[in-house]
Symmetry: C2
Subunit: 370 residues, 2 copies
C-alpha cells in the first residue's frame, strides 16, 4: 500500500519544529526544571478572577464554546474602542498567523520578516509554500525601513513586524510605526505582532485604524495576561479582512475554559497593571543580575530580557547549556547578529535568584570550554 501523495509544498518541506517545549527537555533530562524562564510565559499568572472563572467553567466543559466567541470579542472590542466585526479570536497568535497565511499566500508568494524574529511565523509561511525573505536586525532592532524596502522590491504579500520584538525585546515608537504604515507597498499586508505590547512603555502601540485594510494587529492573553495555556489570541483589522478569517478558521476551535478565563482576565485591568508592574521589576532584576555578572543586557519592552553574553554565539550557547544543566529553562536566539545573547523570561524573586546562582556557574563552564 502506497501513501497517497502529499501536496508538492508539503512533500518538499523538511521536518520542522518551531520550538522544542520545556517538557520535551525535561523528559530527555529525566528531571524537571526549577526555574521556568524560557517560554516568555508569565509566572505571575493570570488574575485570580480568571482562575476562579476557569475553575468554575471546568464543570461545564461538556459544552462547545460559542463559535462566534461573541462575549469575548465584544469585550475586546469595547476594550479597544472598536466594533466587534473588527475582531477575530484564534488559538493564540500562532493559530491566527497560520490562518493569515492561508488567506494571503499561494506557493511562491513572497514574505518579508526579520532574520531571527518569530520562528512560528516562518513555520506557517513555509507550510503554505511562501518564500521567506529574511532581513537582519540593525542595532538589535527590527530594521523596519529595510523590511519595507524589501517588501516593495519583492512585491511581498505579507510583512511581519513584531513590536516589541521577540527575542530581543526592542521596539519602535507608535509614531515611527505610523510612518512605516504609511509607507507600506499597496499589495502588502502588515502583520503587526503586538504579543508583547502590554508590557511596553506607553507610546509603543500605534493607534488602531480599522479603516486600513493593510494592517492587522495581533494580541494575546498568553503574555502579560498570564494565560499561555489557554491558547487565546486575537487579531484586529479592517472588517473585510477580519471576516475572511471566517472562511478558514476552525469555528469551534476555541476551548470553553480558556475563552471564559480570557474574558475574566480582560475585565480585570487592575490585576493586569499590577502584573505589568511585576514584569517591569523583574526586567530590572534580570538586568541587575546580568550586570553583577559583568554582562550587559538589552533594553526590553517585553516580558523577557536578552542578555549579551559578551562573546560569540558559541560562548552564549555554552552559557545556555550550563543553565539548562542547572535546571534553569531559558532559550537563546540562533540568528547571526543576535546569537551572542540568551533570553530570560521575567520571573518571581525566587525564580530569578535561582537563575542568578546558576548563571555564575554557567559562565564559568562556558569560559572553561571556550
Amino acid at each position: 500500500m502506497a501513501r497517497p501523495p502529499f501536496t508538492p509544498t508539503i512533500a518538499s518541506l523538511p521536518k520542522l519544529v518551531p520550538f522544542v517545549g520545556p517538557e520535551a527537555l525535561e523528559r530527555a533530562r529525566g528531571r524537571p526544571f526549577v526555574a521556568r524562564l524560557g517560554a516568555n510565559e508569565s509566572v505571575f499568572g493570570p488574575s485570580p478572577k480568571a482562575v476562579a472563572a476557569m475553575r468554575e467553567a471546568s464543570g461545564e466543559n461538556w459544552k462547545y464554546s460559542d463559535p462566534e466567541n461573541f462575549e469575548l470579542r465584544a469585550a475586546i472590542a469595547a476594550h479597544h474602542g472598536i466594533a466587534i466585526e473588527n475582531v477575530v479570536v484564534g488559538e493564540g497568535i500562532d493559530g491566527l498567523l497560520g490562518l493569515t497565511c492561508t488567506l494571503f499566500l499561494t506557493p511562491g508568494a513572497h514574505v518579508v520578516t526579520t532574520d531571527g524574529a518569530y520562528p512560528t511565523f516562518n513555520f506557517h509561511v513555509r507550510a503554505h509554500g511562501g518564500t521567506l525573505n529574511l532581513i537582519p536586525m540593525q542595532d538589535m532592532r527590527e530594521d523596519v525601513p529595510r523590511l519595507i524596502e524589501a517588501a516593495k522590491a519583492k512585491s511581498a504579500r505579507l510583512l511581519y513586524v513584531s513590536n516589541p520584538n521577540n527575542p530581543i525585546g526592542s521596539w519602535w515608537s507608535a509614531d515611527d510605526l505610523k510612518s512605516f504604515i504609511g509607507a507600506l507597498p499597496s499589495e502588502t499586508l502588515l502583520i503587526l505582532d503586538e504579543a508583547y505590547v502590554d508590557t511596553a512603555p506607553p507610546g509603543t502601540a500605534p493607534p488602531i485604524d480599522v479603516a486600513n485594510p493593510q494592517v492587522v494587529h495581533y494580541r494575546t492573553f498568553s503574555k502579560a495576561y498570564g494565560l499561555a495555556g489557554a491558547r487565546i489570541g486575537y487579531a484586529i483589522g479592517e472588517k473585510s479582512v477580519i471576516e475572511a478569517f471566517d472562511k478558514v478558521r476552525n469555528h469551534y476551535g476555541i476551548n470553553r475554559v480558556g475563552q471564559i478565563g480570557a474574558l475574566a482576565a480582560l475585565l480585570d485591568q487592575e490585576y493586569l497593571r499590577n502584573a505589568v508592574g511585576s514584569i517591569a521589576s523583574a526586567r530590572d532584576h534580570i538586568a541587575a543580575i546580568a550586570s553583577e555578572h559583568g554582562l550587559s543586557s538589552l533594553p526590553s519592552g517585553a516580558n523577557f530580557v536578552a542578555i549579551d553574553c559578551g562573546r560569540d554565539g558559541a560562548f552564549a550557547e555554552g552559557v545556555l547549556k550550563g543553565l539548562l544543566e542547572r535546571d534553569v529553562f531559558v532559550r537563546k536566539p540562533v540568528a547571526k547578529g543576535i546569537d551572542h545573547c540568551i533570553r530570560v523570561s521575567c520571573g518571581r524573586e525566587k525564580d530569578l535568584s535561582f537563575f542568578a546562582n546558576a548563571l555564575s556557574a554557567a559562565i564559568e563552564d562556558a569560559r572553561r570550554l571556550s
Copy 2:
C-alpha cells in the same frame, strides 16, 4: 488604501459558517434554551476525575502545554495498542480535518463525501480549493461502495466516511469497513471519522492498521467522553502520515486544561462505560418519545437519534422551528433524502421530558402550517 489581495481560492469563496451555535440563536431569541440537545454534546458530562483535573489545572494555565502532547498521546497509544508516533492530537477532529486538507489538497483536487455528511469537513475542503463530489445516502446510510466508485472515477485525493455517521447515526460493521478499505483506489486517503464510535455497538470500529498509509482514523473527546469544550481530538495513522501533521499543525495550539482533562477522562474507562450506558438509554428514550408521537426514529450508534417527521423537509423544518420556539435546541439535516428528519442529541431524563412536551406542540404547529 486597498486591501492586499486574498488568494484566488479565498477570493472566490462565499461566506460560510459550518454550524450556527446555540449561543447565537439564544442571542437572537433573547432567551436561553432549556434543553440543549442540538450539538451532540454529552450533557452527562465528563468523568468527575476529569473535572477535578481541569479545576486543578486552571491555576497552572499560565504555562503553555507540552507542544508534543506527549502524556496524552502516550495514553492514547496505550489505549489503542499502537505506538505514540501513530497519534497526533489536534483542536478537535475539526482542526485535524483542516490540517488533513492542508497536507493533501491543492486547488481543484477532488474529494468525495456523502451529501449531508459532516459540513465542517466540506468547509475545510472548500477553504483549500478542493472540488467536492457529493454522493447521496442510500437507505439512510453512507453509500460507501458508491463513494469508493466515485473516488476511483475522480482520482479523489480524499474520501470522507463517518462511522457511525452524523446526522443519521447509521453505521457499517467493522467487517464491511475492512473490505471497503481493501478496495480503496491507491491515490486516495480514507478519512475515517469515528467521532461517534465509542457509543456504537461492539464490532463497529474496524481494527486499526497503522501499517496502512491510506487510512486515518479520527477520534474525539467531545462526544462520549463529554469534553466538547476542551477541543481535543486525535488522529491515528501510519507513521509518515502522522508525522506530516507536524509540518502544518499549530504546535502550541492545544490548551493546557483541556489536554489534562482529556487524559484524565481517557484513564477513567469505567466512567466512559457508564456514560455510554446512559447514552444508550437516552437513545431508547428518544425513540420511545418519537413513537409516542406517531413518528419513527432511525437506529443510531451515535449519541443522538434522527427522528423521521413523516412528511417532507418543509414539515420537518416546521417541527424544528416549533421546538426552537419552545426552548429546545435541536438541529435537522438539510440534504435531500434525509431532510425529513430532525436530530436530537441524547439528554438526561429532564432534558428529554422537556423535549417530549415541546414535541407535541411543535408537531401541531407544523401540521397547522402545512
